[in-house]
């Protein structure tokens, strides 16, 4: 007779940036069911935006997520520009591309670092975050801020980047290429990581479509989707770049895709800085007519989806925001069930859940005695021990 128990992860912990609550139902060491509860810190941004003017909303949506703070305003602004039939100046499109790609590099490297920590590779954690730093500096040069850039506005961008600063950004970002290539090679060729991550947390292609997965989570499961290529915005259709799709659907595929995408983003930024045309940066939009439109943008974690309806006044009638994690987190129902408990920490981390920076409290309670068995630190320790065992075997 096996041991049935439940592990609760969350919802609150001083180390955790945002709240989320997972309950893992275990049979022995196998996960048999997962339940997720969200919205412990729901901020009511959709309701709030109904009382803000179209210009103000762009600042509010930036605060949906600290890491995606270029993608959310861009998606919203593209929806409004679609309603008002705005033609955005060419230079502004390139400037938007540059900031959005820097965001992708820093987000992906942040994830690689955290994933390394969960697996007991603290060197990867240190390296990844070190190579992320020049991009953060470049973001500060480009927008004046490391987070919440206030860069986009309806009709263009708020702030131009001088040629001198563009050169500095190119030097900083392209300068990390060699380091990220080295990190990628270290991860992709490591026999221990192969043994540890291949076949772990598999999300099949059918499940990925059923749950509407997007971004690296979907591409790791063989969904050839990328909003940047499929529904081009900013200057992505004027630049030469590739998307990466893996068929295996495991954690290894997602890690590999994120690293390759970070390198691809460097390529995009380099080309955008080389090709950027001169001219205006703002179309000077005066009013927003009645209408409705959709804006979607490929954020680092996947498609962020905004719907805006206007009735011709200064305020949106409705503004719907759907962040990528909202579709990616429910895929745990498919990817965690049947997994071993020591693989759970990395499987949960593999979709890069945005509003739950994976540093969270977790206790395991024996279903019969009510006695606590694990906390999240111990889960991470279990995960690290498993890596250590594999390392000894290899």
């Amino acid at each position: 007779m096996s041991h049935k128990s439940m592990i609760s992860i969350g919802p609150f912990h001083p180390l955790q940036e945002e709240a989320e609550f997972f309950q893992l139902y275990l049979d022995g060491e196998k996960v048999v069911d997962v339940d997720v509860r969200i919205s412990y810190t729901h901020r009511g941004i959709e309701k709030l935006n109904e009382s803000k003017t179209f210009d103000q909303v762009a600042f509010v949506v930036e605060r949906v997520c600290g890491i995606c703070s270029a993608s959310h305003p861009l998606a919203y602004i593209q929806a409004v520009e679609d309603i008002a039939h705005v033609k955005v100046p060419e230079r502004a499109l390139y400037l938007r591309t540059i900031v959005n790609e820097m965001e992708r590099i820093h987000s992906h490297l942040l994830w690689v670092g955290l994933a390394g920590h969960f697996l007991g590779y603290n060197t990867v954690f240190m390296w990844a975050w070190k190579y992320r730093e020049p991009t953060m500096e470049a973001l500060e040069i480009a927008t004046g801020s490391r987070v919440n850039y206030a860069n986009c506005k309806i009709g263009g961008v708020r702030r131009d980047i001088t040629d001198e600063h563009l050169k500095m950004i190119d030097r900083l970002v392209t300068g990390t290429r060699g380091d990220i290539e080295m990190l990628t090679a270290a991860v992709v060729d490591d026999p221990v990581l192969h043994a540890r991550l291949k076949g772990v947390g598999v999300l099949s292609k059918a499940d990925a479509y059923a749950y509407g997965a997007c971004g690296p989570t979907g591409r790791g499961s063989g969904m050839p989707i990328d909003v940047r290529r499929d529904d081009p915005y900013a200057a992505y259709d004027r630049i030469d770049w590739n998307i990466f799709v893996e068929e295996t659907g495991d954690v290894f595929a997602k890690a590999k895709i994120r690293l390759l995408e970070a390198l691809e983003s460097i390529k995009i930024i380099h080309q955008a800085i080389r090709d950027i045309p001169g001219g205006e940066i703002d179309a000077k939009v005066e009013n927003i007519p009645a209408g409705e439109a959709i804006g979607h943008v490929e954020a680092p974690r996947g498609e962020t989806f905004h719907y805006v309806r206007s009735d011709g006044s200064n305020y949106p009638v409705r503004h719907k925001i759907r962040a990528p994690s909202y579709n990616n987190v429910p895929t745990f129902k498919a990817s965690c069930i049947g997994a071993d408990i020591s693989d759970v920490a990395i499987t949960l981390a593999s979709v890069d859940p945005c509003y739950s920076c994976t540093e969270r409290m977790c206790t395991a309670v024996d279903a019969e005695s009510g006695k606590e068995m694990f906390d999240f630190a111990q889960l991470v320790k279990l995960s690290q021990e498993k890596t250590e065992r594999i390392r000894k075997q290899v």
Binding site: R37, I38, S39, H42, G44, E46, K47, L48, S51, D82, Y209, A210, Y211, G212, C214, M223, P224, I225, V227, R229, D230, D231, P232, E292, A293, I294, H296, E303, F305, Y307, R309, D311, V317, R318, K320, R322, Y326, N327, P330, K333
Partner: protein, 176 residues
Amino acid sequence: MSEVAVENQTQAPLEGYVGEILSALGDAVVAVEQCDERRGFARIDPGRTIEVAKKMFVMDGARFATATGIDVRDGIDVLYHWAFEPAGAVVTLKALAAGPDVTLDSIANDVPAANWIEREMHDLLGVNFRNHPDMRRLILDDSWPEGVYPLRKDFDQIKDRPPLPAIPPAPEENLI
């Protein structure tokens, strides 16, 4: 309930990729509001949401992006957004949940991606989804009163905010 009514009942011509998708739905589509190269907005028969969702779900490259609920004069308008890759199209199908019971058939049994968003619309707008597999609260706190829907237009963020729940006294043994 207030605000913009169900407008735009004009019939746009069915053209291109989006036009093909909408024509495949047959007479479940009652009005086409917009049909461009990459965007489609159409109104469907609110009694046939499951049939439409099943057809959309198996279409080539279709992915359920999300749904939006909007409080309009005649009820709650539910907008199902379907993305199509690699065509880059987004097709929005609108179904009006009218009447005092604001009810639609749930598509979550056929489209797992719709599970959370239907729970969210139930919490925030009070749309009842018939036969939803798991209609627990997702967004609202357990202490939030029943029948108060914060995303409806008649809900005022300041005046209608329910009082915070009472904090239970700490048990004696926890006091050191």
